[in-house]
């Protein structure tokens, strides 16, 4: 087999792996530079190896504070968006009612709107209301833009669910609450989990909407943004590396658990 034939056969694989490399290259750079000892305020050039930043990840003023604030906001935004979004998706899938079209477009629009537009308009509202910008305005904004994503994820799952399972539960004398807790919720759970995971990631990483509506409160993405102007400490790369490793671990575990469940069912 000539090299050209070999290349032709594997073209898709090679192109795909190159894209994967493109996706992961920055993560590699972040990891490598977490072991750098930079000369000036910026950590853009390799100087020499050092594990100092790993020994003292919170050694930068205000960084870990902003990190914990971002985590808190992400958790509450996830809880809020998941609860509200799940309720909406059940209403949309299970019931016929007036204004379905209007509800559907109101769900779709936030996803079809550039973030900067939503961010600016929300700030206009808050300024008009004289609201104090900070934790609560960030949380309100995050629940707002996560909501649509939860609805989409849960809707897809509930739609593919066999309604006869619930009928069967009712035939076996399960009350409405029992049917919901024992049958409906477990089946919808993967969709709800996917929506919640997406909300968490979107909220934790959001910069544009937060930048407009945070006032002087500093979340982690805002801290990183500020450091791009003032000087980037190596600790930022440490946090970036740790987040990536945690994410890989977390997604792997979620997938393994999901696969087990599927196999048990089959």
């Amino acid at each position: 087999m000539s090299f050209v034939t070999w290349l032709k056969r594997r073209l898709v694989v090679i192109a795909g792996l190159l894209t994967l490399a493109y996706l992961l290259l920055p993560n590699v750079v972040v990891t490598v530079f977490s072991f750098n000892k930079p000369k000036g305020r910026f950590n853009y050039e390799w100087q020499r190896f050092s594990a100092d930043a790993w020994k003292d990840p919170c050694g930068v003023a205000d960084m870990c504070g902003s990190l914990s604030l971002s985590l808190q906001i992400a958790v509450w935004a996830t809880v809020g968006a998941t609860v509200l979004g799940t309720m909406i998706s059940f209403a949309l899938v299970r019931y016929r009612f007036r204004a379905r079209g209007a509800v559907n477009s109101l769900i779709f629009l936030p996803m079809a709107m550039p973030e900067v537009v939503m961010a600016a308009s929300l700030l206009t509202l808050f300024l008009n209301m004289g609201a104090q910008l900070g934790f609560w305005t960030i949380l309100i904004a995050h629940i707002m833009f996560c909501l649509s994503f939860v609805v989409t994820a849960v809707k897809a799952r509930v739609m593919s669910m066999d309604p006869r399972l619930e009928e069967a539960a009712r035939d076996l004398y399960a009350g409405p609450v029992q049917t919901f807790v024992r049958v409906t919720l477990p089946i919808a759970a993967p969709g709800i989990a996917a929506g919640a995971l997406l909300s968490f990631a979107l909220s934790f990483d959001d910069f544009i909407i937060t930048n407009f509506n945070a006032g002087s409160t500093v979340t982690f993405p805002m801290f990183v943004w500020g450091s791009a102007q003032r000087g980037t400490p190596v600790q930022i790369n440490v946090i970036g590396t740790a987040m990536f490793l945690l994410a890989v671990l977390f997604v792997l575990v979620a997938m393994v658990v999901g696969n087990r469940r599927n196999k048990q069912k089959a």
């Binding site: 192109a15 629940i143 707002m144 791009a228």
Partner: protein
């Protein structure tokens, strides 16, 4: 019963437990919808209306703003910032096309060729979602730095001469040029292209490929006539998910670009948060929103996948 459904749902009284169950069933969807819809109306729809009114106001921060139906703001904003609008559309379109070209093979690989590596590759595509995109975007500063490996390689291949000539790069630099911004945009929105593509490719029945092969179609013909058309829903939602956020983005243009690569998002951000010229900022974001909604509607119509929405 009909009078009941015609009543505005939020105002309907709570259904007491003693009432017949049928009536409760009728109102249940509204109670499920109420909190989430209120949230979206108050914090999404209402702000849009506020913004519309702000865009036709005149005044100053000290004296306060008044609605004077000053539509000239729109005209002034457009004539002052049309290069940034045009640039946003061009950069976003370039990034979308690049995302499609780069993302398709990877999505295809995961869907059909990955075998037991499938889960691992999926993890590697999803994991960046959970790590700070700002940190990763800053890493591109290192990768594309002057005198760095990328610049060196492009220079050796004489690609930089070509991109210089096209106006994508300037001198021996990649950083702070349009090329860097488009590279950052492509990178940041690539997962939003790969995931919908993968979802629609995964649904394709593998036997269709076999059938095409049995009918003597070459692999490329199979792709062009079978696989690609069947993956159209993924292509449409993927391109929308990359184009819309890319057109409004200002992070990449700010971190990887220069004053010559400012996009409309940068202008809106500056007008809103630094210049504090609210009417102009509101008008600009309204124009952006209208332009994107128009383009999206047209695109969805043309591609014939209205069921997507």
């Amino acid at each position: 019963m009909s009078t009941l459904t015609e009543a505005p749902p939020p105002l309907s009284p709570a259904p007491p437990e003693e009432k017949p169950p049928r009536r409760r069933g009728r109102l249940t969807p509204y109670w499920l919808l109420l909190p989430g819809m209120l949230w979206l109306i108050v914090f999404f729809a209402l702000p849009m209306i506020y913004q519309a009114s702000t865009s036709v106001q005149q005044g100053s921060l000290e004296e306060g703003y008044k609605v004077t139906w000053h539509f000239a703001t729109y005209w002034d904003a457009l004539s002052a910032y049309w290069p940034q609008f045009l640039r946003s559309v061009c950069y976003a379109a370039a990034a979308t096309v690049l995302c499609l070209l780069l993302g398709y093979p990877l999505a295809y690989l995961i869907a059909f060729r990955a075998g037991r590596w499938r889960n691992l590759i999926m993890v590697l595509v999803i994991a960046p979602f959970f790590t700070s995109f700002l940190i990763r975007t800053l890493a591109w500063k290192t990768i594309l730095a002057d005198g760095g490996p990328v610049v060196h390689a492009l220079n050796t291949l004489h690609v930089l001469d070509l991109t210089d000539w096209l106006g994508w790069t300037a001198g021996d630099r990649v950083l702070a040029t349009p090329l860097a911004v488009v590279c950052g945009l492509t990178y940041n929105f690539l997962p939003f292209m790969i995931l919908p593509l993968y979802t629609s490719l995964e649904r394709i029945d593998g036997r269709l490929h076999e059938a095409a092969g049995d009918l003597y179609a070459r692999p490329w013909t199979t792709f062009r006539k079978v696989t690609f058309p069947l993956s159209m829903p993924g292509v449409v939602s993927g391109t929308l998910l990359t184009f819309i956020p890319a057109a409004g983005d200002y992070v990449n243009a700010e971190l990887l670009g220069s004053t010559d690569t400012r996009m409309i998002g940068n202008v809106i951000q500056t007008q809103f948060l630094r210049v504090l010229d609210y009417p102009t900022a509101a008008a600009l974001s309204f124009i952006l929103m209208a332009a994107i909604l128009a383009m999206v509607t047209l695109y969805i119509r043309r591609s014939g996948t209205e069921d997507l929405v």
